[in-house]
Symmetry: C2
Subunit: 465 residues, 2 copies
Amino acid sequence: MSLASFIAALTPLLEPRSLVTDAERIAPWLTDWRGRWTGTSAVMLEPGDTAEVARIVAAAEEHGVALVPQGGNSSMVGGATPPADGSAVLLSLRRMNRLRDIAPGHAVAEAGVILHHLHEAAEGVGARFPLDLGARGSATVGGLASTNAGGVQVLRFGTMRAQVLGVEAVLSGGLVHDGLGGLKKDNRGPSIDQLLIGAEGTLGIITALRLRLVPGRVHRAVAWLGLSTPGAALDLLRRVERATDRIEAFELIPASSLAHVLRHIPGTRAPLAAAHPWNVLIEAVSPEGEQPPAALLEELLGKAGVADAVIAQSLDQNEQLWRLRHSISEAERSEGPAAQHDISLPVDRVPGFLVDDARAVEQRFPGTAASGYGHLGDGNVHFHVRAPQGAARDWADSAEGKAVSAFVHDLVTAAGGSISAEHGIGQMKRDELTRIAPPARLQALRAIKRAMDPHGIFNPGKLVD
Amino acid sequence: MSLASFIAALTPLLEPRSLVTDAERIAPWLTDWRGRWTGTSAVMLEPGDTAEVARIVAAAEEHGVALVPQGGNSSMVGGATPPADGSAVLLSLRRMNRLRDIAPGHAVAEAGVILHHLHEAAEGVGARFPLDLGARGSATVGGLASTNAGGVQVLRFGTMRAQVLGVEAVLSGGLVHDGLGGLKKDNRGPSIDQLLIGAEGTLGIITALRLRLVPGRVHRAVAWLGLSTPGAALDLLRRVERATDRIEAFELIPASSLAHVLRHIPGTRAPLAAAHPWNVLIEAVSPEGEQPPAALLEELLGKAGVADAVIAQSLDQNEQLWRLRHSISEAERSEGPAAQHDISLPVDRVPGFLVDDARAVEQRFPGTAASGYGHLGDGNVHFHVRAPQGAARDWADSAEGKAVSAFVHDLVTAAGGSISAEHGIGQMKRDELTRIAPPARLQALRAIKRAMDPHGIFNPGKLVD
């Protein structure tokens, strides 16, 4: 590779502002938002349109310089942080933030459109984009698609994959794949669009997306209820799923997580008078003119014989209940260092995992405390193992922390689950994927990587070799 | 390659009945059902389970013998017919026809399960499998997934891709990819399952599928109405889509197609007293306890100001209206030879294509008659160009017929459409795909093919080189 010849070749091909050399402007993007990885990038490419991305990819291949695509830099697994050795350059898609088209049923958004802006634009046409998550103010649709992001509405609407109607991307050779046409049926071989979703920028650079919008203007209601076991929560989920398709979230929270929130997060209070071993938050929605969602929840919980529950009576109360759920991660950090795992399981296996496998972890690593919470309806659990008293802040990265994570991943694998439910593989889980993934999957991922990226320039060091 | 050594090596590895040598038993599967292609296969492999398929794939790579996977042999594009030169052998998945699991929300079906049997089994658990098409009595789920089949309910439920929750397949090396676990979230890189859908057996052999089932027991009603232009039909579609999500079919039929059905198909009669330039068939469904679908249709058509319409009042009348639609293909064959095209377009472009582009074809090829009918809601048109008077039966394969098809494909491409909406590429459209496909798509398809099939044994001569 020759970085100097790459930059020299690119300079006349790009608008001046597409090539950022000011180290101060680059610096904030070299470290992931949790501060776990820091990389190096001599320049930052910030193209303004797809044609510039195509020129960048062609030049990168010619000069052997790797590209690290980046959207909002909100990866949880170091997926958008360049390597430290200076062998790659950042390719920011943030300037490509136009909404090329929007209508009640779809939007065509460039990769750099921020999720929150898409939500607002969808509302503006009386629709909504049915995917939401905490990083909505910085995460971009390109990053969301590249990582097949999930979030809190997956139960009803699916992950990002289900929202993507078409992909525009720059592939090897600087060739532009244009899947934005909005064809509902197209059987010219396997879907290139689908292949790019969840590929973490390792197969090409997503530059724009055609996304589905769903009818907007729904009323929402949130219920919080106490239960004695996660099995009871699963029974309730099955009952509710049979009765209605208006449930958008079904979150399971153990007593310990709620206690941590109440202890550490100012202004929170217990939603129920009694404490329960497990809690469930359910959100229901209804369009105008149908049964109000609070009444629907009341009916569902009554029929299911739930003994202790509260249903929010205002938007403000909805928010307060959601705040309890959204504060868990922060509250648990205040309890001390922990190894956190973003895992998924077949839904039926979740209750057993949260009880039996959690106990197995604690027995194998005395002094730890293992617990899980999250999207029960998706089988997606945030499984935290808290360090023994007195552990160092970076315990998760210590030999014991790593042994804990490997043990958890083995349990997940034995239960037929995935070591990455939402966050992807990035650089954080790459070695674990290599260690655990079935041979067929690993062989296919590697073969596809080599095929789509013959010069090895797309997001090196992420996902697979 | 050495076919003899391949068979010798396989014989001790398979159950005796998994290796068919009786030429009479093989013969029916060597010709596609429309009789357009005939191939050769010295033996027919008919494995009983996934382990046998894995042994077959490993041996095939070792001995350089290609495999042509086949389900119900109902391909419209020669996708399951072996080459004539004897260089490949048929791999029938028909014996693998077990339903490994079925519950109201999903079924795990082996590749050889016939669509009609799946429908029945789903009904047996109070659910339904929301994909249906004419070949339901022979098409297998493995073939449906390998071709991403469509059908008449795509408007509401999507193509086969949307029904597949997971894929089990044998990949290069005889490695088994097991995606049947039913994980709702799994972000370990791009989806291998999705990659195999629509790949036409060229990247691996699908052996089983986890499929979604939707709640069963719905009431259905069918309306037939007359309109003056396809643009009016599109306006009606948009209105109906905004008003309800209970529409499962929206079919557009020109006066000429209806006239051919009434002329050639015994027992049919015109549904409306007056003749209209265009006709629309709409099917609505409602679950028990909601507004009956006939009332829903009446309300929708009343609000839309449709002047001339009939709503079926019984299952029998539903069937009669559907029969008019399903008989078009047969009726048009009775009118004489034609070049048929399975194309898709952005939905908004369909009306213009059916009028302006049809006229362009007729002007370019004097004596021909061009018309389209089909799934307007999906942008999927069956576009037929009837030969001039006196043309030979195989006119579609003549120089003029091929020129017509190339001209149609160019018009489709110019309109942002696809030369294969439902049927796939197979051997029939391979050269056209190579001629027309954008460079990025062709490069990606070829690179993936080489990566996933390094020994070139999976369904050679189909889709891409």
